[in-house]
């Protein structure tokens, strides 16, 4: 089993706490979305899982063995970082060649094929690449690495719509060819929502949600209607967002509605609809409810 398991992980940076007592299992052969606002600790979590940094408390295992300083385990993971880690003067094809020496299963032909598809010249040096093409280069290395676990931090930074679609397709193709654990950490939620099987949402230094996308979306819904009706309806219910527009009110709830609830909605005359992953994420991570305030104009 290629499960990554985090057991009561805490990570402190000097006085600030980045992650607090997190326990989490990334199960093998699933596509995960790791979501969280800026500073929620996504990169910290990924860095911990790849031996880049060390937890203050707790430990992390892959296949039930501690990952710390374990080359045999680490080589099963390819981690595409947001930061460029290759020498600036290195050419793309040299990056491929070197990656091949450390990742024995690296597919050079596939990588060169991807260069053509993404319109990336492999003779270019890293430093000559724009933000978008820098991401493309790193994506190609990751996709062709054939590692059993692929971790992407901000995989679509600076990519145009065409390149993003192409990346999703190639990622899925790789996943279908040989199912592997894939973790995507990104802010562009709407686009990847249907790619994901499972979602982990970080917030307040902890895990807010760790659930399959379909079950999460099944239990999330909004009701809209007259504010007094909506307010009455959400009493004793797990609502995560409430928006007013004059007398109109929209509440976002996170609990599976039972038949009784559905009847109530119908009786009061409220409108029920589904919530997308991105909207749900925004509601869940709107700390302090700043989004509910309408900015004053003039």
């Amino acid at each position: 089993m290629n499960n990554i398991e985090l057991k009561s992980i805490t990570k402190n940076y000097k006085a600030t706490c980045a992650l607090k007592d997190i326990s989490l299992i990334f199960e093998e052969k699933r596509i995960y979305g790791l979501l969280g606002r800026n500073g929620a600790g996504k990169t910290t979590l990924l860095n911990l899982m790849t031996n880049r940094i060390f937890p203050t408390h707790g430990h992390i295992t892959l296949s039930d063995q501690p990952i710390t300083e374990n080359d045999a385990l680490l080589e099963r993971i390819f981690y595409m970082t947001e930061r460029n880690l290759y020498p600036e003067s290195m050419k793309i094809h040299e990056v491929f060649r070197w990656t091949k020496t450390f990742y024995g299963n690296f597919d050079l032909n596939y990588a060169n094929g991807l260069c053509k598809k993404f319109d990336l010249n492999p003779n270019k040096k890293i430093k000559a690449l724009s933000t978008g093409y820098n991401t493309v280069a790193k994506l190609i290395v990751a996709l062709a690495s054939n590692a059993e676990l692929l971790i992407f931090d901000e995989p679509i930074l600076g990519l145009d719509a065409h390149h993003r679609t192409l990346f999703y397709k190639e990622l899925l193709a790789q996943y279908i060819k040989t199912p592997k654990t894939i973790i995507l950490s990104t802010h562009i939620i709407e686009e990847i929502a249907d790619l994901l099987e499972w979602v982990v949402i970080l917030g307040n230094q902890t895990v807010l949600i760790n659930e399959s996308v379909s079950s999460l979306l099944e239990r999330a819904y909004t009701v809209t209607g007259k504010s007094s009706d909506v307010e009455a309806f959400i009493q004793n219910k797990n609502f995560i967002g409430l928006e007013y527009l004059g007398n109109y009110c929209k509440a976002t709830l996170l609990e599976t509605p039972n038949t009784e609830t559905l009847e109530t909605i119908h009786q009061i005359g409220l409108e029920k609809s589904k919530v997308g992953l991105q909207e749900l994420f925004i509601k869940l991570t709107d700390i302090g409810g700043v989004l509910h305030e309408i900015p004053k104009i003039g």
Binding site: L85, Y86, F102
Partner: protein, 254 residues
């Protein structure tokens, strides 16, 4: 195994710099040699290969960041990075030691130029280069197998030490906070000042002991280069240990 691959990477990264270094070095000494034979002026030089030690010290200072990043890009452990980086210096230092010896022997045809080794362990130490009474060069370089082999090994040990020293200094800075960086930077100066002023207060047996210990450690009295080589290796091993301790919990900064 992965250490070797990483060492290979680092060697390939260092080669262009080493080539440029030798191009500059050879250009300068060719110019010196040419002017010496052309104008009839007689001058000499000595210990030129010290510049290689300085070059490797600078390479050591710069070796950490790029290689550490690259090792992380390939998800290598710190242990592997540590052994890989250390292994990479061995062939480089050895090769540069041989090249320096060859350059020195060729250069010597045109310009009398003892190596550091010659000056510490060879006859140069007794005779000097020029006999002002007789107005002639009296120093002749020794080319015995023992001298050649010992020179290569001695220089190799020096080069390795300088490189690792560079690496460790970078590591100390890398691990230090801003305040600690200032403290670390001031420490050598403070120590020197303290030592100058305190030296009278120390018991004279200590001073004498130190005055005996240091030349012995470098094989001065016994004219034994292998004593110095042993000392250099011990120092290198000590620094290697420091490097490991500093690296063990090092976290790349964003």
């Amino acid at each position: 195994m992965k250490s070797l691959k990483l060492a290979n990477f680092h060697i390939q990264m260092m080669l262009p710099s080493a080539m440029i270094y030798y191009m500059v070095f050879i250009t300068i000494i060719t110019f010196l040699a040419a002017s010496n034979s052309g104008s009839g002026q007689n001058f000499s030089s000595s210990g030129l290969e010290l510049s290689t030690a300085i070059f490797l010290f600078v390479m050591g200072l710069n070796a950490f960041r790029e290689n550490f990043n690259f090792s992380q890009a390939n998800n290598l452990s710190r242990k592997t990075f540590w052994s890989g980086l250390l292994m990479s210096i061995l062939p480089i230092a050895f090769l540069m030691s041989i090249i320096d010896l060859i350059i020195n022997r060729i250069y010597n045809i045109f310009v009398p130029s003892p190596t550091n080794f010659d000056m510490i362990y060879g006859t140069y130490r007794d005779t000097g280069m020029f006999d002002w009474n007789a107005m002639q060069y009296i120093w002749v370089q020794n080319n015995s197998y023992f001298t050649l082999i010992s020179t290569v090994i001695w220089q190799f040990a020096v080069y390795v030490l300088f490189f690792i020293l560079g690496v460790v200094i970078t590591m100390i800075y890398f691990r230090s906070s801003n305040l600690l960086k200032i403290i670390v930077s001031l420490t050598p100066v403070a120590l020197l000042v303290l030592l100058r002023n305190m030296i009278g207060l120390l018991p004279s047996t200590w001073i004498r002991g130190l005055g005996y210990f240091i030349p012995t450690a470098f094989g001065w009295h016994s004219r034994n280069p292998y004593m110095a080589i042993f000392t250099f290796l011990l120092l290198s091993l000590f620094l290697t240990g420091c490097f490991y301790i500093l690296l063990r919990r090092a976290e790349a900064k964003e």
